[in-house]
């Protein structure tokens, strides 16, 4: 059983490393995320539309607020699952 788990971890890690080869180089100006027009839109309009100086926060909490709500719900759900599985004493 332990060997099967180790194999699964090695397989998943190997797949991630293999897929990581296709990522654009760090700081490459021709990478798709720099070429897409949405990048320019965020840089030009994030301060006037969301009122925060930090563009990362503007994208995280305003443009992609729904996504961040999901992330918070994931953390909450993970905590509740650990609480249900690992808490020893009866509540």
């Amino acid at each position: 059983m332990k060997i099967a788990a180790l194999l699964a971890v090695i397989l998943a890690g190997g797949m991630l490393i293999y897929a990581g080869q296709d990522l654009p180089a760090f700081g490459d100006p021709n990478s798709p995320s720099y070429q897409h027009p949405i990048t320019e839109y965020y840089i030009n309009n994030s301060l006037t539309e969301s009122g925060v100086e930090n563009i990362v926060t503007a994208v995280l909490a305003n443009y992609r607020g729904y996504d961040t709500l999901g992330e918070t719900a994931v953390i909450f759900t993970a905590g509740m699952a650990v609480l249900l599985l690992l808490r020893r004493r009866e509540i």
Partner: protein, 155 residues
């Protein structure tokens, strides 16, 4: 207390450092709109401060600061603050999480959006810090007094 205590140097340094760690965590949460930081990072720092305290002073002392009941209430409160901010935007006639429609105090829409982003960051921070602390308390081994207590209960 039957547990072996940490040395007085460690206890004193932790006692002095923990308040500064917590204030730095609050700074990181509130600084998220104008620089590096935000709810996730600040919440983790705040939780790490309380975990450090509980590691040195014992789980029992730590649970007096953050009891199981309080952590259960707060963890859902943080998520409710976030979702409630989204519902507030619907009440004011916009879409879910469309901050600039909220007509608070007749401020500039961008200003209202910045305030609500801070509210959302606080909600994220509360959830993350409470989940961090409750994970630590759930994984940590029970103290000897608790073990004796539960064995007496079985008999």
């Amino acid at each position: 207390m039957s547990r072996i205590q940490e040395s007085v140097v460690i206890r004193t340094v932790v006692r002095i450092m923990v308040p500064f760690i917590e204030i730095f965590a609050l700074y990181v949460i509130m600084h998220g709109s104008s620089g590096p930081g935000g709810g996730f990072q600040g919440g983790v720092i705040f939780g790490a401060g309380i975990i450090l305290f509980a590691m040195i002073y014992g789980i029992k002392e730590g649970k007096q600061r953050m009891s199981d009941k309080l952590s259960r209430i707060l963890s859902s409160t943080g998520l409710s603050i976030y979702a409630g901010t989204g519902l507030l935007c619907i009440v004011f006639g916009g879409m879910f999480l469309q901050y600039d429609v909220v007509g608070l105090l007749s401020l500039d829409p961008a200003r209202v959006s910045a305030i609500l982003i801070d509210v959302v960051e606080i909600g994220i921070g509360i959830t993350v810090l409470v989940i961090m602390i409750s994970l630590f308390f759930d994984i940590s081994p029970p103290e000897e007094e608790e073990l004796q207590f539960s064995e007496e209960e079985k008999q």
